[in-house]
């Protein structure tokens, strides 16, 4: 009889343990609200899927635009070989396109990197540790003001019509998908002037302050030869007419 009673007790103990574990899991489940609000999850997933689909379309469109621009440049070069007037026009257009950011460039410059810092305890500064679009905007303006001739932000070329937007931690430039930390800014131009300006402790005060407060990282180095890609998005000006 003794072994049977022991077995029964062990079985009951095991059952109790399993029931306890089930209870914990169920309690955790209810608290986390992850099983019951499946609609909420589905909605989130639908939103995320929409973003992913739109980003895929965006990337494909930009790839097609880059390819079309390459084909057009080749056709123009071909036509230029046939007439002096066309050649002069093609030269003008090529130069203007280079200044508009439609041509890949290289040369000496600086590479600046912005990285998220560490969240502070204060809720009021909940997103101050994140790299935001204004940081990138300030940095790009600063570099242009200190001798940059061509700039790309994480591979997105800046044009005369470029704008910066986004929410906390996300940087949207023109029609590109959102960028997030680390953000790399490559600038071609007067390397010494840009390096000296970036080394100035009074430059970019907001970034410097957050470097101290939230360990946001701003690093830079001068490079003898850096490259920026051609702009691969829209440069439409449908509302502008010559005056």
């Amino acid at each position: 009889m003794q072994p049977v009673r022991h077995g029964k007790l062990a079985g009951l103990g095991l059952l109790a343990l399993v029931a306890l574990a089930t209870g914990f899991v169920l309690a955790g489940q209810l608290r986390a609200q992850l099983l019951t609000p499946s609609n909420q999850l589905a909605r989130y997933q639908a939103l995320v899927r929409s973003v992913q689909d739109l980003e895929a379309t965006n990337a494909e469109d930009r790839r097609q635009i880059a390819a079309l621009r390459t084909q057009i440049a080749a056709l123009e070069a071909n036509a230029a070989a046939r007439s002096a007037e066309t050649q002069a026009l093609q030269g003008q257009v090529a130069d203007l396109r280079a200044h508009a950011g439609l041509v890949a460039m290289h040369g000496p410059g600086v590479e600046v990197q912005l990285r998220n810092g560490v969240a502070g305890p204060n809720a009021a500064s909940a997103t101050s540790y994140l790299v935001n679009f204004q940081d990138v905007q300030d940095l790009v303006n600063f570099l242009f003001g200190n001798g940059a001739e061509a700039i790309a932000v994480s591979g997105r070329r800046i044009t005369p019509l470029s704008s910066f937007s986004g929410s906390a931690g996300q940087v949207v430039i023109d029609q590109g998908p959102p960028l997030s930390s680390p953000v790399t800014v490559d600038a071609i131009g007067d390397r010494n002037r840009m390096s000296d300006a970036l080394a100035d402790p009074f430059a970019l005060p907001d970034l410097r302050e957050r470097e101290v407060q939230f360990q946001l990282q701003v690093t830079f180095r001068g490079v003898p030869d850096t490259a920026v890609p051609a702009y691969d998005s829209s440069l439409q000006i449908p509302h502008v007419q010559p005056a």
């Binding site: 059952l15 992850l34 079309l68 460039m105 449908p238």
Partner: protein, 224 residues
């Protein structure tokens, strides 16, 4: 019921409960993973804004593709006059984009009268306009495109090295409806700023911007 049957029934019960526990645990873990993967750092409102931005961006990219296809077709025609026209149009368009020629079109004119506004304030205002679809901008008769330095000096805010004294009159050509929305939002924000004495804007069917940016040759950058 024999003790062997009872033991068997207990065993089955334990297995069923264990199975349920495993099931719940699996669903729990998978749900958490999915949620983490889907929503890392992005709330649904931000996602909705992102979707809106991406829709607009993709529409712009579509328009650009159509335009490029037309230009390619013109060049493929092989006729010198057509090719020269395509190149002339492109040259004019590029000059307008780079701010090298006077332009006109619909848009908004915003006037900000304030003391103590800095270069960063002006940069933010200009960026808001560009993000709102401005295709050409002028501040106090100084043409501004991205890349034209807007800086803070002891004498005040400069645009391309020239001081722009308040009040700032910002003229922006583009989609007037979109620009009006941006100007409206900016007006509300600026009115809450103590440094701002007065701010107003008007929508104009035809704004003429005569200021231009001088072309600067590359010194360091070389085409790849």
């Amino acid at each position: 019921m024999s003790s062997r049957r009872r033991a068997r029934a207990t065993g089955i019960s334990v297995w069923i409960i264990a199975l349920l526990v495993a099931l719940v645990a699996t669903i729990q873990i998978r749900s958490e993973v999915e949620v983490t993967r889907a929503l890392v750092g992005v709330d649904p409102t931000s996602l909705a804004f992102l979707i809106d931005d991406l829709h607009r961006a993709n529409d712009s990219l579509d328009a650009e593709k159509t335009d490029l296809n037309q230009r390619r077709a013109g060049l493929q025609s092989g006729e010198t006059t057509t090719i020269d026209q395509v190149l002339t149009d492109e040259s004019n368009r590029m000059r307008a984009i780079e701010g090298q020629v006077p332009v006109q079109g619909p848009g908004v004119v915003m006037v900000i009268d304030a003391t103590g506004l800095t270069a960063l304030d002006l940069q933010d205002a200009l960026n808001n306009m560009t993000a709102g679809g401005a295709e050409a901008i002028d501040v106090n008769n100084r043409r501004v495109v991205t890349g034209v330095p807007v800086a803070q000096t002891g004498g005040g805010v400069t645009v391309d090295g020239v001081i722009v004294t308040p009040p700032w009159t910002i003229s922006a050509i583009g989609d007037a409806n979109r620009l009006a929305e941006v100007a409206d939002l900016m007006t509300h924000q600026l009115r809450a700023d103590r440094r701002v004495r007065q701010v107003s804007y008007r929508v104009d069917a035809n704004i003429v911007i005569r200021s231009v940016v001088s072309a600067k040759p590359f010194v360091y950058a070389i085409a790849s």
